[in-house]
Symmetry: C2
Subunit: 198 residues, 2 copies
DNA sequence: GAGTCAACAGACTAGGCGGTCTGTTTAAGT
DNA sequence: ACTTAAACAGACCGCCTAGTCTGTTGACTC
């Protein structure tokens, strides 16, 4: 049981760092000092292995870092700002940052593996749904302007976050983060509830 | 000479659709009905082949679709809006859209191949520089608010574009595009030159 | 018409890949 | 003590991959 978890943890590490297709089962087993027998005792195939990683590790990771932090009753724009800030700060401090795990896998498997894409898209949908409902709640509570299209805002936010994580893998990630955050705040200012013009 | 171009064109097609590591030299040669001898007569290696594709095809593609359209003297916010709109419209009409080519390769090679990453980042930098200068020119010409940080805007724009192209590979790309564009316009409104309050 | 060389063809190799299969160990049950 | 089976170990297989190497073709020269 502990072995299964170790396999999945190092599996995700290596898949994230080197990509799924570029990481062999032997690579993972070598790092764990385990054998082929151990792997295929616990998992049916490499694909089955990865699907379980998605459900057990990736889904929880996305939830704890991107969904749970925006579930409060405060201003959703503030919550999202802090959530993105923290997520990006983790990336900045991680010397081996390869971008957003979810977005990387979406890119790698798009058009190549329908089964895996299905599970990945499920996570994306959960994130989207939670973002939208957080925004709608914020609109109801008077934090957002009445005319704001919450679904559109969610799409825009997800896009920009996926994208900035790609850019942050390049030069000066902390500068990229700072610039991104200033413009996010600028954007948020434009959709927040307008004070009643007296 | 014509063979080299055919190789590069189909090479980019397949690399884009299936990924670099997931596309074998034989795959490309099979589609072209050519032999190993032909390939290694024209190119030193698979990596050399790809670097040439980047410089000959990818760089031009990015230039013609993302840089050249924003080089005019009009309002840069309008130019960028139309540029993104058109680029995304092409993606919507492409039944086999796998996202932004540049962003996909950035994701695939990040941390895996320094040589290729160098050439990819060169293209990113060119795009960034041109975006910034277009915005600065727009600021000088009174289209943008005086307090706008052009570098930050460029980072934000590149992020959001990379990201939305990923989302658009999922469900209802045209809806994603529409929502994205509404929020882009919203954001642009917040950084455009403010009319003098009388 | 003999020589030359660019532009290929295709057999070949060494290594890596996912996956299989036959063991072996170890601990618990009876 | 004997059985049973979970949890592995590791040799093995067929296939694929980047890259090599020895040819062959056909146009062009002199």
């Amino acid at each position: 049981m502990a072995t299964m978890q170790r396999m999945q943890t190092t599996g995700l590490e290596l898949f994230y760092a080197k990509g799924y297709y570029n990481t062999s089962v032997d690579d993972i087993l070598k790092k764990l000092e385990l054998s082929k027998g151990a792997f295929y005792y616990h998992f049916d195939s490499k694909e089955d292995f990865f699907v379980q990683i998605i459900q057990n590790l990736l889904a929880r990771k996305v939830y704890s870092s991107l969904i749970e932090p925006i579930e409060g009753h405060e201003n959703p724009l503030t919550l999202i700002t802090n959530c993105f800030d923290e997520a990006m700060e983790t990336a900045v401090h991680n010397e081996m940052d390869f971008g957003c795990i979810l977005s990387n896998f979406l890119t790698e498997f798009n058009g190549k593996n329908e089964v895996i894409m299905y599970h990945l898209n499920e996570i994306v949908t959960v994130w989207e749904v939670n973002l939208i409902s957080a925004l709608q709640k914020g609109k109801f509570n008077g934090y957002l302007d009445r005319h704001v299209d919450c679904e559109a805002v969610a799409t825009f936010l997800m896009s920009s976050y996926f994208g900035v994580r790609i850019l942050m893998t390049g030069l000066s990630p902390s500068a990229k983060k700072y610039r991104f955050m200033t413009q996010l705040r600028q954007y948020f200012k434009s959709i927040e509830a307008k004070p009643i013009t007296v």
